[in-house]
Subunit: 353 residues, 3 copies
């Protein structure tokens, strides 16, 4: 579907100049833009590339001399990435499919809302409830007693286990698993894990008399708030006797693990391959960098930012910026790191004294 | 299904007091317990919360004054988490479904044991054998010549590739992949990986004459022992000419990678996002913390405990507790870490001399 | 299918000795070889084990006295792992299945090439194109407008989202996800992530007025080059306005994340659980070790080798061997690490002065 430059600018709350009735049906990098594309050249660094493509119209940085850049029309974007959000939403295509596939298996007791789309080979369990306008792709499994809100998007291969509750407008990318059993096992006598924590590794571990791991079943399921998005292949485990919880507006990237009983606050970001171990509590608006890990049973205050690859082993007060393994305040970490880089020379000079 | 306090206590081998014929049908945290829930207040910290909920009965810490806590009956739990294992097992609901779905595709040569449940859209390959009492969820793929023991639980979206052998009572959470091809490639001339290991990075890498990676096929499949559980999205690759092996009683969390040819011992724990590279051997009762990684071709002795996020690059003797990157003995790691934190001040004071 | 020792040697370009007409139909480790197996004893370390098995024929190290090892015939392998590539390819069995399953759902507008195999419950979207000789396993989802080259192998549970383009001979292991939406969100005002990067953590983070994350849609899809292989459960996200790209001949292991807009060069290796954040560019022939992470928007030069578990936070020049968190040159890292191990003793001795 094509949009005029005028309409796009209005939707973005931005200013437009020139031949604002030109229609575009896609967005492009400046150098590869075709004549019906809106080129995105939101910083001066992209100025030169505009001449290499066939762009007639572009989103440019505030104050750019768009005529000198060879354009017929331009939109000024004061905050480039925010403009991207509006633009890409306008230019995106709706989900394909309509109605309920004849190849889906839906339990007669399930309640399917108005306008719901269900793809081929989806399975909807007994007593499940699916809110109006929700789109369920092919190969999705929805367990017994699951409740899904309105206007959700569940992509192919998503697995939702029994009793899970999703809010409205939740997006689950392909192969997400919500509500698998938590990883919770216990030995008859205190285990080596307990012993190692107690002794801080000062005592060698030996074989216990009974090495059997007894399974703690997960009766607690998962609750996902409104406007949550979860990336491909990520997993959120069921709680033990209460629900694992992900707060509204939180966004989770690909291959992230959220353990049983975890509480994730609202409007958090959990970047790719992050992991949160069991029973940990994460405050609102926390950012967990890619590959960062948080130990079990700790509390992360609101507005904390954890750098990519950091490993948090203890509680973190609100508002901290953390890095390292184990994670410390970012400035402490950087100071230690710089000192470490100077250490080999120090040792050499001391050896010479 | 409801259970009496008396019966629950007997099953746990624990003492019960008060009106032990009261029936409960669920477990709950103390503060949110309803009147048919068994509240779990296994440490004194939970005592206050009991009064906020509607619990009539609870599992409490040994010696608790249960009458003063407002309860009508109580169970004493000397080891709280162990009691949880028994309790949650009693209160869990059985898997849904029965019989073989008409929407499954089962090769006529497959042997399906007595009482096997097979869900919608499951695919069972030629010559596969499925033991009695095993439960196969919807969307499970079972390859040719796979052997699955009795009383296994295979959740939705599990992929089992050709020739894999599972023991009895194996539990595979959703989207687990067993027996994918190993990551094993070789170049005609020694590769930069081999060169970097040899030169310890002292020689810059250059482009090889022939950068092609030749594929080593995985002919060896996977063997999984009895009572193994594997978490959502985890992967165990096929061996090259013999099976990759996971020993009986071992529990593997979500998003864990076990490479080709690896041998994992019995009664191990591999926590979320751990990774074990190809051909490594892990002894019995080893605990691998979350996000920990183990390099290829190393040997980890029995009863080793690897801290979360640690990276093991060489052999580890039995009984060691290890941390860090590269992983060292935990006490060595802590000593180095503390020294590092004191280093910036040392450098400052030396600069002033 | 059985092969003679003579034919195997010819295929490997290797020398054969003895009764070279003996037929074998499998490969085995020396100690467990049956009489129709080709034992693999490519280094002297395996010599003793040969006598424990029933091997009549083996691949041995150059110059081995194969008669003294009790063999009737032998092949000399000058580069053991390269021989493994040829051998395992010869001895591998072809994919099972033929033709198009009656249980697949294929849009009438899709173009299916000659000799394509499509398994049960596969879904092929509108306008998809599947090249001749490609094998699509059961439970694969192929989105609208996807183009798949010739002779690809797509294993069970693979998800390919709209508009993705795959080259020829691409292998996708089970549950791979290609073309899920990128993780790209923006707040109205500069976020704490932006603030933390600017202030290097010296300013505590506070709650923003508007914590909402606005979604940047992914319009750009993914292009995968010829001869790429991607491991089980790995994810490659769609680009924003141009395609995310994986160059020809690159091999990606299990549970790897490749973010939106990333460009991965040709003939790279990305080992298990590696992660590449959005918009990063990786040169040709780069090796990314297991669990290594690369931050967003950085450039990795050609022929770089990143050690397992390292975390790259900034650009890396071509040919570097890198380790650590943050990653530095391997020799710098090793020097710092050795110095750190000597530091506790230094602090003690300074305290005594």
């Amino acid at each position: 579907m094509a949009h005029s430059i005028k309409d796009i600018a209005a939707a973005l709350g931005a200013q437009a100049f020139g031949a604002v009735d030109i229609l575009v049906d896609g967005a492009s990098e400046p150098g590869t833009a075709g004549c019906s594309d809106l080129a995105l050249a939101m910083t001066p660094a992209y100025g030169d590339a505009l001449s290499q493509g066939n762009a007639r119209v572009a989103v440019v940085w505030p104050g750019a001399d768009w005529k000198a850049l060879g354009l017929e029309a331009a939109i000024y974007a004061p905050r480039a990435r925010l403009a991207m959000a509006g633009l890409t939403q306008m230019l995106d295509k709706p989900m394909s499919g309509s109605g309920v596939s004849e190849h889906a298996v839906i339990d007669p007791s399930a309640q399917i809302g108005e306008g719901v789309v269900i793809g081929a080979f989806a399975v909807i369990g007994a007593d499940a409830v699916i809110g109006a306008g929700t789109w369920v792709a092919d190969h999705v499994s929805i367990g017994v007693n699951v409740v899904i809100g309105k206007d959700c998007h569940l992509h192919a291969g998503v697995r939702i286990q029994r009793n899970v509750v999703l809010g409205t407008r939740v997006i689950l990318q392909p192969n997400v698993v919500i509500g698998a059993d938590g990883f919770s096992f216990v030995s008859v006598e205190p285990s080596n894990v307990e012993l190692a924590r107690e002794t801080l590794g000062n005592v060698p571990m030996a074989a216990p008399d009974d090495p059997t791991w007894h399974r703690i079943h997960s009766l607690g399921s998962v609750e996902i708030g409104d406007d949550v998005e979860i990336g491909a292949g990520s997993t959120v485990d069921a709680g033990t006797i209460r629900a694992t919880h992900v707060g509204k507006g939180t966004k989770i990237d690909n291959l992230v693990q959220v353990g049983h009983n975890v509480i994730v606050g609202e409007h958090c970001l959990l970047c790719a391959q992050a992991g949160v171990a069991g029973s940990t509590v994460i405050g609102d608006r926390v950012v967990v960098g890619g590959k960062a890990g948080i130990a079990d049973n700790v509390t992360i205050g609101a507005d904390v930012v954890l750098g990519g690859g950091s490993v948090v082993l203890s509680n973190v007060p609100a508002g901290r910026v953390m890095m390292g393994y184990p994670a410390t305040k970012m400035n402490t970490h950087l100071e230690s790191y710089k000192a470490l880089r100077r250490l080999p020379r120090l040792l050499n000079s001391l050896a010479k004294r």
